[in-house]
């Protein structure tokens, strides 16, 4: 395919490059194949319903999005309800406490079997008016099979509240509002009790109190 170029006469660079570039050519079979390929596609009539698949694709994509969101939302609600039911059952059973104290430091030193360290919740103190001094003790419990801490508070109205802390794992507990990100805690009413749940300091926290 290369042109025979026996002469060694110097040429302007531009001409030499043109010669160099044009020295390579498609063989007739390749050329025919490419021409046939083009004709086969371009000689076909254009598809009249070209817009329909786009519309259908967009509608299908929207549907998938809506269904995915619905499934995601439903599964999150389901998670939240399961957790609420479990902590409410713990609240109603009111098993004996493992430790009696009003000090979070003592709570932290007592709960050594947890894979997290119990923490004082800012929300509990500020919004629910349950400072450390109103705590009366705590016990081990579990939330969805994960070992958790149940702390008990006696409010100024003399009513008992149970407060739960467990290491937060989104895969296990679903998506929960994180107050450190400015999100609002989730509230669920179960068996006549109000359960408030949120994530704070990397822990899933739940407060159960009478309505």
């Amino acid at each position: 395919m290369k042109k025979d170029n026996p002469d060694h006469n110097p040429l302007p660079l531009k001409d030499a490059i043109r010669d160099q570039a044009s020295s390579e050519n498609l063989v007739p079979e390749q050329l025919n194949d490419l021409m046939a390929m083009q004709r086969a596609v371009l000689d076909d009539k254009p598809q009249p319903v070209r817009q329909f698949p786009y519309w259908l694709t967009a509608a299908a994509a929207c549907l998938v999005l809506v269904v995915s969101f619905f499934v995601w939302n439903t599964s999150n609600e389901q998670y939240a309800r399961e957790i609420a039911l479990e902590v409410v059952e713990n609240h109603l059973k009111l098993k004996p406490m493992d430790v009696r104290t009003q000090s979070m430091t003592e709570i932290q030193s007592f709960f050594t079997q947890l894979d997290f360290s119990p923490a004082q919740s800012s929300l509990l103190e500020n919004q629910f008016d349950l400072p450390e001094q109103l705590m009366i003790g705590g016990r081990y419990c579990s939330v969805k099979g994960v070992t958790a801490a149940q702390l008990r508070y006696r409010g100024t109205d003399d009513q008992l509240r149970t407060f739960y802390e467990v290491g937060y794992d989104e895969d296990k507990f679903g998506r929960m509002p994180d107050i450190d990100k400015g999100e609002t805690p989730q509230e669920i009413i179960v068996k006549g009790l109000k359960v408030t749940m949120w994530v704070e300091k990397g822990l899933l926290m739940a407060l159960v109190k009478d309505m």
Partner: protein, 165 residues
């Protein structure tokens, strides 16, 4: 649709461009074929009108080659603007004379980017500004490449000219 069909002369020129980049006949044909397939799909979809199919396919070839080349080695991606000013008036390159066999020897040693530049300059007749815009290459990079190219070409052509004298 006939105006959208690439004729034989255009196909030959596109193949030659693919050869300039790949320096390998099978690769060049694969590049050309896949670029045309992509072009035909675009036309068939009725996407925005392609004014110049040849230029469109040439760009497809270049992009496909860059992707492939990046995968194998790494397409040079200098983004710096060299501060030095180079005298790259077209006349300088126009003045260079070279023997075909010498060019063939040089051609194989040039980087793919340099061959691309020379092709745009010599065969497609682009100005430096147009070539920069087309190849998405910073002007400083382009100028320094031309500067180095000219030195290489002169290094070859000078002894040749001396021999002629």
């Amino acid at each position: 649709m006939s105006e959208q069909v690439l004729n034989e002369a255009q196909l030959q020129q596109l193949y030659q461009y693919a050869m300039v980049l790949s320096q390998h006949r099978d690769d060049a044909y694969d590049l050309l074929q896949s670029a045309i397939e992509s072009y035909l799909v675009t036309v068939k979809r009725g996407s925005p009108t392609i004014d110049c199919p040849e230029a469109y396919v040439r760009t497809l070839i270049r992009n496909r080659y860059i992707d492939h080349y990046r995968y194998r080695r790494r397409w040079s991606s200098e983004s710096f603007e060299e501060l030095a000013l180079y005298d790259i008036s077209p006349v300088d390159l126009e003045k260079v004379v070279i023997d075909n066999s010498e060019l063939e020897h040089l051609w194989a040693k040039l980087s793919v980017e340099d061959r691309d530049i020379l092709y745009h300059w010599a065969v497609l007749g682009y100005s430096t500004d147009e070539a920069c815009a087309l190849m998405d290459m910073p002007r400083g990079t382009f100028l320094s490449r031309i500067h180095r190219l000219r030195k290489r070409c002169l290094a070859i052509s000078k002894p040749l000219s001396g021999a002629q004298e």
